[in-house]
Symmetry: C2
Subunit: 220 residues, 2 copies
């Protein structure tokens, strides 16, 4: 297809598609003339992933480059799928040095050891460990009483494991390795937003049940 | 206590405390002399909430003002607790106009109606509805096949409801209305980060179980 059709199918403007090609996020189309190139389904699939990362995940273009490089790594077939998935996942952030990524090394070691002891197969360099350790640091900074250990998150960990098991079970490995990675990354970003939103709404619901009622004019 | 002790107890620098007082986020201390003022536990509690909102929730100072105003609303006793909680919650964002807060009005109406039909007591102006509707829009933009409806999030909604029920059950209403609101807001922000981190780690774990193994050198 031409670039105009690719733009229409994916909802990404032509100028933005050209920018992604220049930045190396998207392979160039196949030249069909001096000023024309043709694009295929693979370009459309890749563009959809980039769009979700930008618009839903708020991931900076530079980090999208790292996700794309991981996806292309599996395409070249030189790395195991789980390894590529982890690398793509890690590229989602938080970036080293970002305030969300800062945590004490004590808390980081504790949460890693705790999850490994539960049997979780995770890498020590996972950026999500910084997010989790930062949450533990924040709870400890609230002071008062015995400082909590990583087991304070156990209820959330069990819930997260149940969610992730269902999510990974729905991934179809027969669709090809790079497609699997794209599916997982898209699912990670979109359903993360949905889960955060639903927890906030559910808190509103249960706080109204316990402490309510909301005023009628506000709920209708 | 003096401002220096308040700073030490909360981990917030003196200059930052003064800035929060100027911005109206924190009530001024009680004057005890021409250049001195004294602060109490209420100031410390408020500062801890502000710190969590800034450092963990990444909430801009202007929006923290709205959270604080909601908390002070309940202190003045003129509004029901659930109403104040909802207002404080909504102030967490996303801000109107923020890319994360943009969604189609069709999707927004659909997710609201769907959750209300499930019996959720939520307000139509909840910003989390924009987050959720944006996730639905993103799934639809992926195209291919029948466009999903809001029921695609039902599994996540049930999980979120179970989490929120436990969270709200642990809130102690006897500690006073403004303290309840501060507890809920702090819990919302810190455990949201923990849940997001744990889901990503659990995905890594289950993807390794399904598609693994990770290389040994990476997991130890």
């Amino acid at each position: 297809m031409r670039i105009s059709e690719l733009s229409e199918r994916t909802g990404v403007p032509v100028a933005t598609i050209k920018y992604y090609v220049r930045e190396g996020l998207l392979p160039a189309g196949t030249r069909t003339g001096a000023t024309q190139a043709t694009y295929d389904d693979h370009h459309a699939e890749r563009l959809r992933m980039i769009r979700v990362l930008r618009e839903v995940g708020d991931v900076p273009v530079a980090r999208i480059g790292a996700v794309v490089a991981a996806v292309d790594g599996v395409r070249e077939g030189d790395r195991p799928l789980a390894e590529v998935l982890a690398t793509a996942h890690h590229a989602l952030g938080p970036e080293p040095g970002h305030p969300h990524g800062s945590s004490s090394s004590t808390a980081r070691t504790e949460v890693f050891d705790h999850l490994r002891a539960k049997g979780w197969l995770i890498r020590q360099d996972a950026p999500a460990l910084d997010l989790l350790a930062g949450a533990l640091d924040a709870l400890r900074a609230l002071g008062e009483g015995t400082p909590p250990g990583p087991e304070i998150f156990d209820g959330y960990a069990d819930t997260a494991a149940a969610i992730a098991e269902v999510e990974l079970a729905s991934v179809d490995p027969s669709s090809g390795a790079s497609s699997v990675v794209e599916q997982v990354i898209i699912g990670t970003v979109i359903y993360e937003r949905a889960l955060v939103a639903l927890r906030r709404l559910a808190q509103e619901h249960h706080s109204t049940r316990r402490f309510g009622p909301l005023r009628d004019d506000a709920t209708t």
